[in-house]
């Protein structure tokens, strides 16, 4: 396996700047997921690593070898495409052993590798079939099998599950996680689905507008998003954002807007960041909005709201609340049993509260 380094990668399509100085380092045996909204440049970055896209500026290293000018076939990478890209005129077996045949590998070795991959992916029964005779999930498994047999230095996955239905996607997600445990390979995985990113990644690279926003473990980016974009992108349902200003009362920072006033303890916002009149955005995840529950020291004071809509998800329930003119989403245990329009009290859990500067959109809380 291998390390991968992106150094100051720039990509332009005409005048359109797609990637702007991307610096990422992937360690040996690491599973890194690049996540971001459509058009953020994540697939372009992956394709540049594969050698399918020219690099406008910057350097890419695989195992400390500069690969900018290296042909895709010489990079020792394997790629699983979003649309499977199976060769339609070849059987499953021929698809899987295509790369090995090109290398003129020993026939017994080829058969052994295909058999091993087919065993892992439960494809033994389908080796003689043509791609058109397979279901979507099976095709995706063949595409993964085609990558496995090559034993490459780096595996590249380009949104491999986005064409599957929800149930199959879940199954394949587990399969890929198991596969990683088994292969212990260096994997770079691109997706726009933050659930895939959170569940599969050792580290997540979050991108937007061609810029890396944050790199960190799933729990890091969830607990400590560095800016408003990451805070809004990671986590489902999305984080609540409350805009307002800070004021200092007896040395304590107080957040206020038209509808809410609450102190922000020093363990959330350091004194150095608490300037009087500073415009800020508070971020609170729906799980950290406590409804009709006693607060305690680690929570804000009670805030009155009105229940607008309830969404029962089975074991959890989403409550859309109105606090003055501000909408707040809370996720609570199922069967809240209150009718829309009724008054409810809520408070915010300080321990997981995020404060961002409104102008720079950067995190200023601890």
């Amino acid at each position: 396996m291998a390390t991968v380094q992106f150094k100051k990668i720039v990509k332009k399509f005409g005048d359109n700047l797609v990637l702007n100085g991307v610096d990422v380092e992937i360690k040996d045996h690491e599973f890194v997921v690049i996540v971001g909204p459509s058009g953020c440049g994540k697939t372009t970055l992956l394709r540049m690593l594969a050698g399918l896209e020219e690099i406008t500026d910057g350097e890419i290293f695989i195992d400390n070898l500069l690969v900018n000018e290296l042909h895709p076939s010489k990079r020792e990478i394997a790629m699983v495409f979003q649309d499977y890209a199976l060769y339609p005129h070849m059987t499953v077996e021929q698809n899987m052993n295509f790369a090995l045949r090109l290398r003129k590998m020993d026939k017994a070795e080829i058969a052994g590798r295909v058999k091993e991959a087919a065993n892992i992916l439960q494809l033994n029964k389908f080796l003689e079939r043509m791609p058109k005779q397979l279901s979507g999930g099976q095709r995706q498994r063949v595409a993964i099998g085609r990558a496995i047999v090559r034993k490459p230095k780096v595996f590249l996955f380009d949104e491999p599950l986005s064409n599957l239905d929800a149930k199959l996607r879940e199954e394949m997600r587990v399969e890929i996680a198991k596969l990683y445990q088994r292969l212990n390979a260096t994997i770079l995985y691109v997706t726009h689905d933050q659930v895939e990113a959170m569940t599969l990644a050792g580290r997540i690279v979050i991108m937007n507008h061609g810029i890396v926003q944050q790199v960190g473990s799933p729990i890091e980016v969830y607990r400590k998003p560095v800016n408003l974009f990451v805070a809004g992108f990671i986590g489902s349902p999305t984080m609540n954002f409350l805009s307002g200003r800070l004021k200092l009362e007896n040395g304590t920072a107080v957040f206020f807007n038209k509808f809410i006033t609450m102190p922000i303890p020093a363990f959330v916002l350091p004194q150095s960041e608490a300037q009087d009149g500073r415009e800020v955005v508070l971020g609170v995840r729906p799980d950290d909005v406590l409804v009709e529950r006693p607060g305690g020291e680690k929570c804000s004071g009670k805030i009155e709201g009105v229940l607008e809509v309830c969404e029962l998800l089975g074991h959890r329930e989403n409550l859309y609340l109105k606090v003055g003119g501000q909408r707040v989403l809370a996720t609570v245990e199922a069967f809240f049993n209150r009718s829309p329009g009724s008054a409810v009290s809520l408070c915010f859990n300080y321990q997981n509260m995020h404060v961002f500067d409104k102008a720079t959109e950067q995190r200023i809380s601890e």
Binding site: G51, L86, Y87, H89, L102, R150
Partner: protein
């Protein structure tokens, strides 16, 4: 309900009847001249101008065929045509398939203009090209040669073939070639191993077009070839047309014989003219 259904069924049956009647009428119109030629080719020499309409004439004989093959250089002309046509078809399709690939997959200056230029070259009537072709072939010192004919034919059907193939390549997902590149092929390898096998329907069409155009061509052959030994069958058959007398029996026999290679090529290529070759390759 039953009544309604039966009325609908009746209407459908009537519709089918008219459709089939139309098809049979057109098929008859197409086949009739061929059958008449067959009849003429089988007639004995004294009944060539008979008004008898029977398919197999009284006293049917293969004398015209025997005389054509024995007394004239017809086999030689057929051979010349076959060599020129096959070479033209293979060269034409090879050039078109690679040129179309470049037009389909690469970005280069003048790509759009090139495609339009190719298309507009098809709008020039064939007769207008005779003089420039004659001058070019003469300057290349290829008059009265196979090569001269092959060059003239291959380039003239190139634009159409490029358009056909480019259109087809555009429908093949690029990710298939990219997968092949990552798997270890070169760009040429990806074209050879992935694109070409998937393009057989379009390649067959281009081949058929090249074949039939070259096989039936007369004008260019008339200008380039001047010794009867080098003649293609189109020129050769006209040899049978004299100032005072035309050998209609042999003419008809020749006409029947030249349809055989075309028929064979059509029947053979029909198995490649299948759609849905790329099914299952990518998410549909």
């Amino acid at each position: 309900m039953k009544k309604q259904l039966s009325a609908a069924a009746k209407r459908k049956r009537l519709q089918h009847f008219f459709i089939h009647a139309g098809i049979i009428l057109f098929a008859g119109a197409c086949v009739y001249p061929l059958l008449r030629i067959l009849t003429v080719s089988l007639r004995p020499g004294d009944k060539l101008f008979s008004t008898d309409l029977s398919l197999i004439p009284a006293g049917a004989t293969f004398v015209s065929y025997a005389r054509l093959l024995g007394d004239t250089m017809f086999l030689r002309w057929l051979w010349n045509s076959l060599i020129i046509t096959l070479a033209t078809s293979f060269i034409g399709v090879s050039l078109a398939s690679t040129a179309a690939y470049a037009f389909s997959r690469f970005r280069f200056p003048g790509k759009k203009a090139g495609m339009i230029l190719l298309l507009s070259s098809q709008m020039i009537p064939a007769g207008m090209l005779i003089l420039p072709l004659f001058l070019m072939i003469m300057k290349l010192k290829l008059m009265n040669t196979y090569l001269g004919m092959i060059i003239a034919y291959s380039v003239s059907s190139l634009p159409f073939s490029i358009w056909i193939l480019k259109g087809y390549y555009d429908t093949i997902p690029r990710s298939l070639e990219e997968a092949a590149l990552v798997d270890g092929t070169s760009q040429v390898g990806a074209f050879w191993r992935i694109i070409l096998p998937l393009s057989t329907p379009a390649l067959s069409i281009a081949f058929l077009f090249n074949f039939t155009t070259a096989w039936n061509e007369y004008l260019v052959a008339r200008v380039v070839l001047f010794s009867s030994k080098q003649y293609t069958w189109t020129l050769g058959l006209f040899e049978l047309q004299g100032q005072y007398i035309t050998q209609w029996g042999m003419f008809a026999a020749g006409s029947m014989l030249v349809t055989i290679p075309v028929l064979c090529v059509f029947l053979y290529s029909s198995k490649w003219l299948i759609s849905g070759l790329t099914l299952g390759s990518v998410k549909g």
